[in-house]
């Protein structure tokens, strides 16, 4: 069984801390909500970019619906990817197996994020004083530096330990139960969970009368599977349909 070096585990842990501290602004929105970039980082660090991307794509499907109203996410895709993609690459797993590992890890990860808010709440009390004094340096330290340092102290050891000590154990364990009924169940779950994220987005968009476009696209993609139309082409079809919809619904209004 392959293992990670200290350096490899540390780089992945630091990446997760950058993402979860939200240290590079709104750019971290999609870094946190989507496992894709974290999966790529794991791929680069472990030297298995292709495998990592294939596995991450399967994990992405489960997390399609991550939108975090009010800032709380029921599961953390970036943390899930950091652990599950690493385990899957080390153990040479199928994407479906990786998904089954990612889901519980992601749910555990969401507690850490709540804990981050908790620590910030205490550390940033001094802001009242700085604001009253118009102390710009103090405000910069409190708003930017301290919360980022807190996140690093919280996430780097957590992810490092999970990766360095946990990942080989999990990979060995999953391998030892391979080919049994447990793996069949894991693969069924991994394949079916993709439905969750898609349903969440349909619900978030929330316009029932527009579901027709979902059905149209669904049956197009099933019926035209043999033609291997890529998603960019489909996106163009979708954009044209969106344009037509706007055009025709607008016409009804009196000019």
């Amino acid at each position: 069984m392959a293992t990670l070096s200290v350096g490899q585990a540390l780089i992945i842990a630091i990446w997760v801390a950058i993402v979860m501290s939200r240290g590079i602004g709104y750019a971290t929105l999609t870094l946190r909500f989507s496992p894709l970039m974290t999966g790529l980082v794991v791929g680069i660090v472990t030297g298995h970019i292709t495998e990592a991307m294939i596995i991450t794509a399967a994990i992405q499907l489960v997390y399609m619906g991550a939108v975090a109203p009010g800032g709380a996410l029921p599961s953390e895709p970036a943390i899930a990817a950091a652990i599950a993609v690493t385990v899957a690459v080390l153990g040479d797993f199928t994407p479906e197996k990786a998904v089954a590992i990612a889901v519980p890890v992601g749910i555990l990860g969401s507690y850490a994020y709540q804990f981050r808010f908790f620590l910030n709440t205490f550390a940033l009390r001094i802001l009242d004083k700085y604001a009253a004094e118009v102390n710009d340096r103090g405000i910069f330290t409190s708003v930017i530096i301290i919360p980022i340092v807190i996140s690093f102290i919280l996430y780097v050891p957590l992810v490092f330990v999970a990766l360095y000590f946990g990942a080989p154990v999990v990979a060995d364990f999953v391998n030892s139960i391979s080919d049994g009924p447990v793996i069949h169940v894991l693969e069924v779950v991994g394949g079916g969970l993709a439905a969750l994220g898609i349903a969440v987005i349909m619900h978030v968009i929330g316009k029932k009368e527009l579901l027709l476009f979902f059905f149209l696209a669904y049956f197009m993609s099933v019926a035209l599977k043999g033609l291997e139309i890529n998603t960019v082409t489909y996106a163009i079809f979708g954009a044209i349909l969106a344009g037509l919809y706007v055009l025709f619904t607008r016409k009804k209004e009196p000019a």
Binding site: M37, G39, V143, I144, E187, I198, F215, M220, A242
Partner: protein
């Protein structure tokens, strides 16, 4: 010279707010955004951090500036682009009116701190709702849906494309909201919440979003039956029968099942996840799937 007279001297007159100031405020808010999130103030520290350069140009009196800093530390939470962008613009415009009214000695015409705060608090929720649904919920996933096949094929572009596109596009139209918010002042929110241009844009994005979800569901949800039985020495494979009726039936039923679950039982993603996982485990263990 008493305090009132001091405010009216030319050197204490607020400096004009330029496009560069708005871009600076926007970029600072964009950067700080979720970094200092706390339970009691939520993202108010980031809002103050964003407004600081503008407040400094407006309030030359240290006491006024200190009050302005403090009022933007009050509880505030919204979505970064629609809420944060628009409210950065509106607040800059309101604070400018207040500072000017002060400088001209017409303090009774100045927007009060209460009114500034109520505008922010009154709008943050509605704008966040739109922002979450459009940015995180639709625009992000349109880019991801386009890039997913590249990721499936093992290409790093599958990760880089949605990250770069989403980050860039939201930064740009967020700045547009700042400018719009500043230009329209308090009326900006009405324009955004009820304006026909925005409604058209939301409709179009909804159609495109739902269409892409259909494509994804058809391509990537993998639910198939492994059930087979023998009847009068002839083997029936359930999946083959289903395929001859309607290809892609089971994945579609799975997606619709979850959708209807949210519709009827309330929108709770964690509960939906647990139910779906449980159902799949049982059906998989029974070898029905």
């Amino acid at each position: 010279m008493n305090a009132e007279e001091k405010r009216q001297t030319p050197e204490n007159y607020p400096e004009p707010i330029t496009k560069k100031d708005l871009l600076k405020a926007w970029s600072r808010w964009w950067w700080a955004n979720e970094i200092p999130h706390t339970f009691d103030r939520m993202v108010a520290p980031s809002f103050l951090f964003g407004m600081m350069p503008i407040l400094k140009k407006l309030y030359k009196d240290k006491k006024d500036l200190s009050e302005a800093y403090q009022r933007h530390l009050l509880f505030f939470n919204t979505q970064a682009i629609w809420g944060g962008g628009t409210l950065t613009g509106i607040t800059a415009s309101l604070e400018e009116s207040r500072a000017k009214a002060f400088a001209e000695g017409k303090e009774d015409e100045a927007p009060s701190p209460d009114m500034i705060n109520n505008t922010k608090v009154g709008l943050m929720g509605a704008l966040a709702g739109i922002g979450d649904a459009i940015d995180s919920g639709t625009v992000q996933y349109i880019f991801i849906a386009i890039a997913l096949p590249w990721a499936m094929a093992g290409s790093p572009i599958g990760a880089l494309f949605p990250f770069i596109c989403f980050t860039l596009v939201t930064y740009l139209y967020g700045y547009y909201f700042v400018r719009m918010g500043y230009g329209l002042g308090r009326n900006a929110a009405k324009e955004i919440l009820a304006g026909s241009r925005i409604k058209t844009m939301i409709d179009a994005l909804s159609v495109l979003g739902l269409f892409m979800m259909g494509i994804l569901a058809g391509s990537y949800v993998k639910v198939s039956s492994s059930l087979s039985f023998t009847l009068s020495e002839k083997e029936f494979v359930l999946q083959d029968i289903l395929d001859s009726i309607l290809p892609g039936l089971l994945p579609l039923l799975t997606v619709l099942g979850v959708y209807l679950y949210f519709d009827k039982k309330g929108f709770n993603i964690t509960r939906g996840l647990l139910w779906l996982t449980g159902t799949l485990i049982v059906l998989g263990a029974l070898r029905i799937l």
